[in-house]
């Protein structure tokens, strides 16, 4: 465990450091933020003043070192655009994204698990084939396209649900959440469905594959030979085994759900981190881009760690090691 922790920590540190360098160079190479931020009216003198004000007149390595030094102190720089600490900006947006990603993940598990279970237990049934065909669709449909269609149908044509935005929020634990109000929930539905479509399919297929493999296992047959009711065999013996990969993948996918919310957020004008990063890329708001990606990396590292711990908690065979099987 200790070794595991240390190994993880060391790896993470290397990853983060490598990330900062790549990011810094990458973002630097994309373009010159001053060109974008400056008012068209500005003359050359004003331009030079802005360059200096943003600290872009220094050599790159010095900028990097300054950044690194500040980052170690938890300061990831100030947004060029908003003139606020990048970290605070992102954290402000985080609840919205987390809420969306959580809702999507919840959808995925609540829908995917039962459907996958059904399809795995009766692979030949028509209903199972329909489920699997549906999951292929869910796999294949580009997120952006689905998003548009959802808006077209449910907001514009039918007018059942709001098209965009987050709706009113209520405060809970010091953060603003929209699932606490009815109107907020209504705003949440479409983007969450949009984001979860892929995950639902993923969970269905994982579950089905897991079930199909597990039911062939001797221990399932043994459980039946013990005279257990089919319900217990399925919901304890089979399900507990497939929950492990399903939950692991779902948890790991949570990270990419957050990342993929970039697309959903920009379609549904959902004021989360994803939209912030897209906007920031458009205006080359370097500190925000770097801070966002750093946070994402840290989040992934954390998530991986949590998944590992979870995995070892769920599957008694596994001790904390440096890799999953």
């Amino acid at each position: 465990m200790t070794v595991y922790l240390i190994r993880r920590l060391m790896q993470s540190a290397v990853v983060v450091l490598a990330m900062t360098i790549i990011l810094f160079l990458g973002v630097y190479a994309i373009g010159d933020p001053v060109e974008i931020l400056i008012s068209p009216d500005a003359d050359q003198i004003e331009r030079e003043r802005a360059i200096a004000a943003l600290g872009l007149d220094q050599p790159l390595w010095l900028q990097y070192l300054t950044f690194l030094e500040n980052a170690l102190r938890g300061d990831l720089g100030r947004s060029f655009v908003f003139n606020e600490p990048a970290l605070r900006l992102i954290l402000q947006k985080m609840p919205a994204t987390l809420e969306l990603a959580l809702a999507a993940t919840l959808f995925a598990v609540l829908l995917g698990l039962p459907l996958g279970l059904w399809a795995g237990l009766r692979p030949e049934a028509l209903s199972s084939r329909v489920i699997m065909a549906g999951s292929i669709l869910g796999f294949s449909l580009p997120t952006f396209w689905v998003g548009l269609m959802l808006i077209m149908v449910f907001a514009v044509e039918l007018g059942w649900l709001p098209s965009t935005g987050r709706g009113p929020t209520a405060e809970f634990l010091g953060l603003h959440w929209s699932f606490l109000t009815l109107e907020g929930l209504r705003h949440l539905v479409l983007p969450a469905i949009n984001l979860s479509l892929f995950k639902i399919s993923l969970v269905i297929r994982l579950t089905r594959a897991g079930v199909r493999e597990t039911v062939l296992m001797d221990y399932v047959k043994f459980a039946r030979a013990k005279g257990l009711a089919p319900r217990r065999v399925i919901f304890v013996h089979v399900l507990k085994n497939i929950m492990i990969p399903v939950l692991t993948v779902t948890a790991l996918e949570f990270g990419s759900t957050i990342a993929f919310s970039v697309v959903t957020e920009s379609i549904f004008a959902w004021p989360g981190m994803g939209k912030l990063i897209i906007d920031s890329i458009y205006v080359l708001d370097r500190p925000v881009i770097v801070a966002y990606l750093m946070i994402i990396v840290l989040m992934f590292i954390l998530l991986n760690f949590v998944v590992d711990v979870m995995y070892s908690a769920l599957d008694p065979r596994v001790r904390l090691q440096d890799q999953r099987g």
């Binding site: 449909l141 580009p142 990342a259 897209i278």
Partner: protein
């Protein structure tokens, strides 16, 4: 000098695994007959072949070269399906804002989408497989370094990596391919390493080592072919993923150039017209994209079932 074949009496009886199959059963034939078990998959495969043919033959069958600006006329822009353009040309699926024949645009777009999907999957396949095999076969430090790289790559959301790379390299088909390769090689490496680690412990590899065959020979002639099945499955899925990723990137404005639209870009262009009722500009490319990805996924799905040793009976 040798004893008479002790099993000669049994030679008339086909071995049990091959019971009802044709005599000369090669892995390929067995694979084909297993694959053909699902009618849906066969239909999907046929559709896939058609799509590929349509894409390959686009310059021959497309009524117009949609990439040649001289052939486009902006005055024919946004015509609904079936309209006749200024030059007396009938646009079966309508035109987009530049007066581009949608049918031709879709055929050419398929070309790009498939080329990007297949090209990037192929390069990623080669790179990832080579690295994964090396990692698995040699183990130790090599393995650690390569796999940490894989972890690093996988711990980072694909879409963001691609966005960064494209923002960095700029638009263009080659750049999209590069971005997708960078995003995807790790999947192959991880898959092949997992399989190779299992296969490497198999006795036939030990037998090859015992026969003093060279490392290169063992890796490429013995190890690699046996690691292929899961790779093929990953490969098909990744082609579909690559196509979708390219479409998404193009949609976000970071994909291929507007003058040579892929399906994703056609959809993105038409997307702005959706609300105004000119559905055809994004609807037909959307359908084409959808069918392509679904078809590839269906084929991949069946491949997964056929190639999964654990579900074999």
């Amino acid at each position: 000098m040798t004893p008479p074949s002790v099993e000669s009496t049994a030679l008339g009886v086909p071995p049990r695994q091959a019971a009802a199959a044709p005599r000369e059963e090669t892995p390929l034939r067995r694979f084909v007959s297993d694959f053909a078990e699902s009618r849906l998959a066969v239909v999907a495969f046929a559709a896939f072949v058609l799509i590929v043919l349509a894409a390959l033959l686009a310059p021959v069958i497309a009524p117009q070269n949609p990439y040649d600006l001289a052939q486009l006329d902006i005055m024919d822009g946004r015509l609904p399906p079936g309209s006749v353009g200024g030059a007396g040309f009938t646009y079966l699926l309508g035109t987009d804002d530049q007066g581009r024949d949608m049918l031709s645009g879709i055929l050419y777009g398929l070309r790009i989408s498939l080329a990007v999907g297949a090209g990037s999957a192929f390069i990623a396949f080669c790179a990832g497989t080579a690295l994964g095999l090396v990692a698995a076969y040699f183990g130790g430090r090599t393995d650690t370094v390569i796999m940490r790289l894989v972890d690093l790559q996988l711990s980072f959301p694909a879409i963001l990596v691609a966005l960064m790379i494209l923002a960095f390299l700029g638009k263009g088909i080659i750049n999209v391919v590069i971005a997708i390769v960078v995003v995807e090689w790790a999947y192959y490496a991880r898959t092949v390493r997992g399989t190779a680690l299992v296969e490497r412990r198999r006795e036939y590899i030990e037998a090859a080592a015992c026969l003093a065959l060279s490392h290169a020979r063992i890796v490429f002639r013995h190890l690699l072919p046996n690691c292929l099945p899961p790779l093929i499955v990953v490969g098909t899925m990744q082609v579909a993923r690559a196509i979708a990723l390219e479409a998404t990137l193009s949609f976000l404005g970071l994909g291929v150039p507007v003058t040579e639209p892929s399906l994703g870009l056609l959809i993105a262009n038409g997307y702005e017209y959706l609300l105004s009722g000119r559905y055809w500009i994004s609807f037909y490319p959307g359908i084409a994209l959808l069918v392509t990805i679904v078809v590839i996924n269906l084929v991949g799905d069946q491949l997964r079932d056929v190639l999964n040793p654990r579900l074999r009976r």
